[in-house]
């Protein structure tokens, strides 16, 4: 079961990833081709988009407890990411073994006992073993 806090953290992480992507020159080149933009137009669009993302991040952060936001920022600084999924009982940040029983403990968020990153446990997809 995904808690509200974890859902907000996943949203925040996706926005941070979006921001990094939009900042990259490779992405800018693709957007220029896709939208047939001049260098100047593409850069203007990029700056406007980054402003909107910043505001969206601020809104999500305002809905999270301040200690969680602080931890998110600390993890981003340290690992370049703050939320990762657990796949096959492995933390995708540090590769530590995370037993499923550990993930079912009560609490709004669960962090890796080794690296401290926020953990997200995807439900099995159709056709996959539980």
């Amino acid at each position: 079961m995904m808690t509200k806090t974890l859902e907000l953290l996943v949203n925040l992480q996706d926005l941070v990833n979006m921001e990094e992507e939009i900042k990259s020159d490779n992405y800018l080149t693709i957007m220029k081709e896709m939208l047939n933009l001049s260098d100047e137009e593409a850069e203007k669009r990029r700056q406007e988009t980054l402003k909107v993302i910043k505001e969206k991040k601020r809104v999500i952060e305002s809905q999270l407890p301040s200690d969680i936001v602080r931890m998110f920022k600390r993890l981003m600084k340290r690992y370049g990411r703050a939320v990762v999924p657990v796949v096959n009982e492995i933390c995708l940040n540090c590769s530590s073994h995370i037993p499923t029983s550990y993930l079912t403990q009560p609490g709004e968020v669960i962090r890796c006992p080794n690296c401290g990153i926020f953990l997200y446990m995807p439900l099995p997809e159709q056709g996959q073993k539980k």
């Binding site: 996706d14 990833n17 979006m18 490779n26 896709m34 669009r45 969206k56 796949v87 995807p122």
Partner: protein, 151 residues
């Protein structure tokens, strides 16, 4: 590159959606994710749209995003003969969707490469409306592959 991502089971030839939200929902549903994963991917795609429409004009849209909830790159292609009001840059309805979604970690940069290939393919598709006439899924996929490989 696109050949590996284009799958018959991830193709909708007759989309029912009429609005942007309905279109994104219909495209994401094809992936048959569990509800929380589906909702989170949808949230991210909607957020991406809210910062600028991916309806690039001439009837084509390329909704795309990276999400923590994904473990690999997914491409879903959707066609709507009637067209969808997708807030495209030229204001025209969208008839063809390429929805690309990927995890944040993508060491082979498959996602960006695919996005570039789709952008190039979209330019070719924009010159023709042939894709509106093909009703066989295999033929449709082969048409896209052939067009994407043409110089």
């Amino acid at each position: 590159m696109l050949k590996e991502l284009l799958k018959k089971e991830h193709l909708i030839l007759n989309m029912k959606a009429r609005t942007k939200d309905e279109a994104l929902e219909e495209l994401v549903k094809v992936l048959k994710f569990p509800p929380d994963k589906e909702r989170l991917l949808l949230d991210t795609l909607k957020k991406r749209e809210s910062i600028g429409s991916t309806g690039i004009g001439r009837g084509i849209a390329i909704p795309h995003a990276r999400s923590v909830v994904l473990d690999k790159v997914y491409l879903v292609v959707g066609r709507s003969k009637e067209g969808v009001d997708f807030d495209a840059l030229d204001g025209n309805p969208v008839h063809l969707f390429f929805m690309l979604a990927a995890p944040p970690q993508d060491p082979g940069t498959q996602y960006l490469l695919a996005l570039g290939k789709i952008a190039a393919l979209a330019r070719k598709l924009a010159k023709t409306k042939e894709y509106l006439e093909i009703d066989d899924p295999d033929e449709f996929i082969n048409y896209l592959i052939k067009l994407s490989e043409e110089e």
